[in-house]
């Protein structure tokens, strides 16, 4: 019969030799193999303590950005929601009142901004679509939750910490993204 692939190997049907039938030598050989593995490097990563380094283009949870003075950049233009292939983003626009200039950068802002993290496919198209650099994908990924509604992230979950009020958390939230942006500029 013709072999179906060139990789097929005929099965060896030779009767076992005396040494093979004794087993002991083969058991000894097997034990040498396991002994060799004792000294091998373990591929395990102690996860909560160590983490695998992310790829530089990793796309994690979204962050709503602020400018240097801590004003929200988002103007609720809706381009991200349009760009989103999974239709995960919804928002409600509102007009900036007098005296709110320190909160919002432009005259229009997002009063409600929600991303459904169960729908999101983390493609990063919202980041590409945003004309104001207001939304970008960070390097953290979605944590577990007990309920579905816990995965609908509102503004309090998404907004980056205030750069002046708590600069350390702001820096942490920016992560390596800040370096990358500087390099891109």
């Amino acid at each position: 019969m013709q072999a179906l692939t060139s990789r097929a190997k005929p099965v060896e049907r030779k009767p076992m030799t005396f040494v093979e039938r004794l087993y002991l030598w083969n058991i000894f050989k097997g034990m040498m193999i396991t002994l060799k593995h004792v000294f091998m490097k373990k591929p395990t990563i102690n996860y909560p303590k160590e983490t695998r380094p992310f790829s530089p283009v990793f796309r994690g949870l979204h962050v709503l950005n602020r400018d240097e003075e801590g004003r929200e950049r988002c103007t609720a233009c809706g381009l991200c929601a349009v760009a989103c292939p999974a239709e995960a983003i919804t928002m409600e626009a509102a007009e900036r009142k007098n005296g709110e200039e320190h909160l919002y950068r432009e005259e229009k802002y997002a009063a409600r901004y929600e991303i459904n993290m169960l729908r999101c496919i983390f493609c990063g198209l919202c980041e590409e679509a945003c004309p104001k650099d207001a939304v970008y994908l960070s390097e953290t990924f979605a944590p577990a939750n007990y309920q579905r509604k816990g995965f609908i992230y509102g503004k309090p979950d998404l907004l980056i910490p205030h750069p002046k009020e708590n600069p350390e958390e702001y820096k942490q939230a920016l992560g390596n993204r800040a370096n990358k942006q500087q390099q891109a500029n």
């Binding site: 002991l24 058991i27 097997g30 034990m31 193999i33 396991t34 002994l35 593995h37 004792v38 091998m40 490097k41 373990k42 591929p43 395990t44 102690n46």
Partner: protein
Amino acid sequence: MYSTLLAFDWLFLIEKLVLIVGIISVSLGIAMYETWAERKVAAVMQDRRGPNRAGPFGLFQPLADGLKLFMKEEIIPNTSNKWLFVLGPCLAMLAAMMTSAVIPWGGKIDFFGREVNLQITDINIGILYIFAVVSMGIYGIMIGGWASNNKFSLMAALRGASQVISYELPMGLSLIALLLVTGSLKMSAIVGGQIDGVWNVVYQPLGFLIFLICAFAECNRTPFDLPEAENELNFGYHQEYSSMKLGFYLFAEYINMFISSAVMATLYFGGYDIPGVNDAQLTEKVGLNWMAFFQGAVLFGKIIAFILLFMWVRWTIPRFRYDQLMHLGWKRLVPLALLNMIITAAVILYQLKK
């Protein structure tokens, strides 16, 4: 009144009780850490890390496991024979513990002028006692499997029984050859003959190999762990057991491993003999107590080496098929052991004639 009390050496009783408690707690502790070591060895051989969450290097893992076993629900099946169901694990544990009574754990120690022998009893049929108690261990498996009222448990128990009985034969035959060499059944005499001399393994390499294989079978350890057989008898004789009763079975297995390592070290590897050292000279130099300590340490080193060998083999080779097991036992080991015995006897006769 005093004369009747004094007729019995109360210190002797206390001494032996202390020894018994000490040895039992040591074997329990060793069994505990054997579970840890087993998991660690398995992990290391499979390029994993093993338990490392509880305490440094996962050293508290056995405590956590024990706590888990205690907290589990104690189930006694409706249709089981309740009395036998409880008796099974107790017997397994009891038989495992009793063997350690005749093993010499070290030389003598000098305890405030009283010479204490580090052996619970030095009966003159030490080896026969070990054999008797080891054979009792099979009752634990048999009764447990029977009382569960479960076909799989019963079949596994039968397997276990026939396996242990089959392998006791070559084990005994290989021992006869050893006894021809040592000329005594007394454990202390067997160790005494090896101290500062040649270990018995040199005279009896084949006998040792047969004994080792049979020890694996007697302990139900991996190439021969057919009574457990997860894949065909879905957990073997302790399928119906839960909580600490299951723990007792598992513990008994580990204690058996410890004791059989001790027996092998004693019979074939010089017992508490310190290799390369003249014991009598060292005793004069460091004193009796330190000597006993060193001897005990050396014996434990040998035991630990054997335990590691048990684990190493377990995580290397797969399980035998049942017919292969019986084939090996009856058609290979028994004739080999007989041959070994006859050759040993012939050599000894020849030497006597000269």
